[in-house]
């Protein structure tokens, strides 16, 4: 096959991987700390994307600028949902948290369906169609930006977890809940903060995705299984894993589409997911548990 086509597919795959990394970074944090799978992740992304959509169409705020609004708003929402719903109602049992996040996602998605109907919405901004020449191919500028910010975001999260006091407390809670409580860490608050940060990354992701994607009430489905794959592949709780996992998944999708066709090409992601769960459930960079 023509090497330029392969190179173009590789670039495309990496950019796609950047998008998946964006969505998965918050999921891996939530899993790493709370040890739960946040089934509401996709529907929260959808909410954030509608937020970006209306900030632009109603108030004329540029998607990238609306990050200043969406990130704190999603953090607040996450903190409140944890304190008000998940933490309070789950009685601390893991499978209950899983089912409550499932219930929340059903609830949010269908409320959105009632309010916004099933249509997809897109936005157009002046730079939507700006193309940049990258080796053998042209790529849209917003895709490059989202890729760059995804990398920065993961680096920032990793630094935050490693260097700040709150980050240390989060790591302590992730490793040993009882011990963390004994040294005076408010475990419940750390849970709420982690969930808040997890959703805050979705706020950023929504701002970066909106110029290159569309939004509909079921948009979460597009990302949710892929995001789980990235998180499990990279190792739950690892930001480096989210980057590497995102790249592998993006490349798989891109080359799968190239060689197997659009429909069958999607199978690669699910197969990777199954294989990694069967062979190495701790993922590439995850601590063995």
């Amino acid at each position: 096959m023509d090497p330029t086509i392969l190179a173009a597919a590789a670039i495309n795959g990496l950019l796609l991987g950047g998008m998946y990394t964006l969505v998965a970074s918050g999921l891996t944090l939530i899993y790493g700390v709370l040890h739960i799978i946040n089934f509401a992740h996709g529907s929260m992304l959808m909410l954030a994307m509608f937020g970006v959509f209306y900030l632009l169409t109603k108030f004329g705020i540029d998607p990238y600028l609306s990050m200043l609004v969406m990130v704190p708003a999603m953090y607040g929402l996450g903190y409140a949902i944890y304190k008000g719903v998940i933490g309070r109602l789950s009685s601390g049992r893991d499978e209950n948290i899983l089912l409550i996040t499932l219930g929340l996602s059903i609830l949010i998605e269908n409320i959105a369906l009632m309010l916004f109907k099933g249509d997809s919405r897109t936005i157009s901004v002046s730079y939507s169609d700006t193309m940049i020449e990258l080796g053998p191919t042209l790529v849209p500028l917003p895709k490059l930006i989202s890729f760059a910010v995804a990398m920065l975001l993961c680096a920032a999260l990793a630094l935050f977890i490693q260097r700040t006091d709150t980050g240390r407390a989060i790591r302590a809670v992730a490793k040993e809940r009882v011990g963390a409580r004994l040294v005076g860490i408010d475990v419940d608050r750390i849970f709420a903060i982690s969930y808040g940060i997890g959703l805050a990354t979705l706020g950023a992701a929504a701002c970066l995705l909106m110029p290159i994607f569309y939004v509909s009430p079921t948009i979460g489905h597009v990302f949710v299984l892929v995001a789980f794959t990235v998180v499990v592949l990279g190792g739950m709780g690892s930001f480096l894993g989210a980057v590497v996992g995102g790249m592998i998944v993006g490349l798989t999708e891109s080359f799968g589409g190239l060689f197997l066709g659009e429909s069958l090409g999607q199978i690669g992601i699910s197969l990777i997911f199954i294989l990694i769960l069967l062979l190495r459930p701790s993922g590439l960079f995850g601590a063995r548990r």
Partner: protein, 323 residues
Amino acid sequence: MNSQLQPVPWKLHLAVLAAALAFPFVFPSNFAVNFGVLALFYAFIGQSWNMAGGFAGQLSFGHVAFFGAGAYASTILQLRFGMSPWAGLPAAALAGALVGGVIAVLSFRAGLRGSYFALITLAFAEVLRIIANSTDLTGGGLGMLIPMKAGAANFQFAERSGFYYLILLLTLLSVALAEWLRRSRFGARLAAIRENEESAMALGINVFAEKVRVMLLSGALCGVGGCFFAQYFLYIDPTIVFGVDKSVEMLLVSIIGGAGTVYGPLIGAVLLALASEGTRAITQVPGLSLVLYGALLVLIIAYLPNGLIDLFKRRPQPRKETR
């Protein structure tokens, strides 16, 4: 959990059965009978989920894999190989059991539990959806349309009540199986596994074999559900029969009613049918029934962790004679 429930008195059994049998006569309208069929259908697939997810505690998010396997197996045999749709029922059971067995052997061999098991079942269902979406045998994304040919020999009843009594029979069968699970040693071993796998192993239970067995059973039932679905709606496509929505429906019906109980899925099913048909009758807005159901799930987990059936749980009777 379930063992603490008082046995349901046989009079109540008879009354519910009589009401179920009389239902199409008392409410002969298409709307009412369709409602009955849907409620029983939810009960049947909810019960199939309940075998693995409730009695054995293996939380699955991908039961739709068995459902779709059954739907496609029976429809392919009928449309591509000209077999009678009735032969599709056992074929669907076989297909569901096969898929259930393969998933179970692979994931339980790898020691997957809890949320990992939930995720891998989801992924298997997705693989099947993509395959069904991309091959000619299954009709690809366009799905398969079963031509109308009325006649009981053709699995197409002139009266909707024919479907009603068929799914009633299937549901009774699934309830009988659940009741057997509750009483049998097999069911007791599953309960031990659900409560604590390590202790079950220490008791000498072959945890792997028991879990595979229950997945075969659950998969077979769910496959039959898929065959019924295809024959009732006369149309299947990959998104409908392999989509995550059906998995969630089965799980909701079972958990909201009461997972691991014999009658929980029946309660959950009637409620889901009421919510979906009731809201559809009142308003054209899509999604309202699932809003109710999602809220209910959160509330149930919080306040009635054993499901709605707890509301019907009778307080233990004071003993008349003391020992």
